[in-house]
Subunit: 379 residues, 2 copies
């Protein structure tokens, strides 16, 4: 059988204050298009469907729409698990009805031991879990780490193996040897959360979620799909997409299918003068999420506002060679007289932190200045 | 056809800090038992399934279990709407799958105009909505109140009426002429949220939610079911239960079926000495939620702790004749030396406010005192 492997949708995630829902819907539509073109028999989503345990109403609306389209309208069987970003209980709502239309959404450890059988393949859907859950489930007080837990988990799964079928594990954890990027929350420290790849040998394919780069793990029988979008600057150079996995042949094969983001995350470098020159900014996609590497050392009054007028989605500004410190004071003094209060705060913030204000921070400042202004007038 | 009409479950609600989930599960089991004994064709739940728009994980677990049992296991068709306490979007999750097993859960105004037809009856499931939704749906800027909206809503529904069928409206609002109790949040002021009963004349039965007393409205064709449990002291004397409604006869008939709470809400009155006498407290159900009406005027050191040792669920203490003020100071001074810090706070609070600390407040105080104690020792 042929299935599509994706993960880490993180619906509702924001990038430096920018809402990504539009990009997420677009990426989802591309995933669905790949599933249709490639005529897959199922779509596997390996955890972190939402970005937060209590998603916003907007995120829920988008996610609900996606699963309706994928499962009820396009009638794809869906095999999904909860990840560490999801609240398993909140995500569980509706689960017992979903199975009626071949939408299997496992959120509890005990569900992992009843494989979903489709065509020639057994799917073991193992949601993200803490060692304590395995301790209770196996009634084994010795279990303290995910590695210890996984020995028991895999052994229990192997007992369900049908020899004439392919065996696929869908799971969401950190496999030894894989690399992390900035946008995966570092909940665990040390090796407590790590599963050695050798433990997963008996599976024909392990569809992983958790890490956001498709190359985080290079193994014969295991892959991270990565997230469908770049969720941090450290993912800037990653290619995003999904795996197409075939378990029809005697060997399992997998191919990567790329997704083109609606708006990319990229970095531009140059002097303020260069970056604000029309010849330059009309040559690139200004709608992208941009990290700006500034070569100037001089203080630039009202810099962020000027940059944002050209580049609406600046996620950060870095001064590659630092800032000139000597003349700063007098220059700032001069400019203070000509700047609006919001511009002053913006400039102060970016000079002190080297980073740009997020949209939310800008809104706060604007609202608070307006309030102060009103209070002053009211006196 | 015969259906059961309930509403205002408020899953997750607390009563003066006490968790009611156990009582809510018990009441639900009684509702289910009635549905089975009376062989109803459907269960109608007229809104406020949850107590809060973002329910706790514990509340979600309980609610999910209930709907699985009611609809999937016992196979009752369920006709439900969201109320003003529910987040319509959050509650909507799973809805498109629920209908596969005859669980209709309407959360949007536009869903109200496609009646669910069962046996001889058309059910119009109208979720709680704000006038703005009707303004947008009907593209009518004149709509400013629920009354104005309901004129349009009813008129649109009447166009769907099949003359040979009975017509039932399931809705969640304040109908003119009904009485409120303390546990319904007063979100609206004035008459903006009120629907005149006459507007609902064309329905054979209006299954209402919102008010917690079954007698809140006396009408030939409309009833509040009330909540399955007493959610405030003002509901102390209400009988709780569900309506059994028959639309089989030419006239619609309804009968009330009572629910016996696992723990009742009641009031006891007497002097501290009387109420703490074994002969008295063994004569009543001490597990109930108790409002204590105290006839003493004297200061009683450590009163709340003593009462709670006998009555574990005190929801309030009222001094019927006030407190003696004169000797208070010296008496308090005396007792101060013999009381633990937590007891002192407890006593002070109840003397100042006349009310008992909730469980949550007690926990806060205990934690904070422990923290202060640790900080002091750390110095």
């Amino acid at each position: 059988m042929r299935f599509l492997h994706t993960a880490d949708w993180h619906i509702g995630k924001k990038l430096h204050g920018y809402d990504l829902l539009e990009e997420q819907v677009d990426a989802f539509q591309q995933i669905l298009a790949i599933a249709k073109t490639e005529q897959v028999d199922a779509i596997v989503v390996a955890g972190d469907l939402y970005d937060r345990s209590v998603p916003s109403v907007e995120a829920i609306e988008v996610f609900n729409r996606m699963i309706v389209e994928m499962n009820l309208e396009e009638q794809f069987p869906v095999l999904a698990i909860s990840g560490n970003h999801d609240s398993s209980t909140r995500l569980e709502t509706g689960g017992p009805w979903f199975v009626q239309s071949n939408f299997h959404l496992n959120t509890r450890l005990d569900q992992a031991f009843e494989p979903v059988e489709m065509n020639n393949t057994q799917f073991f859907l193992l949601p993200y879990f803490e060692p304590i859950s395995a301790r209770l489930y196996f009634e084994n007080d010795e279990i303290r780490t995910i590695e210890q837990a996984m020995k028991e988990v895999v052994s229990a799964m192997e007992k369900q193996f049908k020899p004439d079928m392919a065996h696929v594990l869908v799971s969401h954890f950190f496999v030894a040897g894989s690399e992390k990027s900035d946008s995966e929350t570092k909940l665990m420290v040390g090796g407590l959360d790590t599963v050695p790849l050798t433990l997963l040998n008996s599976f024909d394919y392990v569809a992983l979620g958790h890490l956001h780069g498709k190359n985080a793990l290079q193994a014969e029988n295991a892959r991270y799909s990565g997230s469908p979008l770049k969720f941090s600057l450290s993912e800037m150079n990653q290619k995003k997409g999904v795996w197409l996995v075939d378990t029809d042949a005697s060997d399992t094969t997998f191919t990567f299918k790329e997704i083109t983001p609606l708006r990319d995350v990229m970095q531009i470098e140059g002097s303020f003068k260069e970056l604000t020159a029309q010849a330059f900014y009309t040559s690139i996609d200004r709608e992208n999420y941009l990290q700006i590497q500034l070569t100037d050392r001089a203080v630039i009054p009202n810099m962020m506002n000027q940059l944002r007028q050209i580049y609406p989605r600046v996620i950060g500004v870095e001064r590659l060679f630092g800032r000139e410190e000597r003349q700063k004071k007098s220059e700032t003094k001069k400019s203070i007289k000509t700047l609006a209060p919001t511009e002053l705060v913006d400039q102060f913030f970016s000079e002190v932190t080297g980073e740009a204000l997020t949209q939310q921070q800008q809104t706060w400042i604007k609202d608070n200045l307006a309030e102060i202004h009103q209070t002053e007038r009211g006196k």
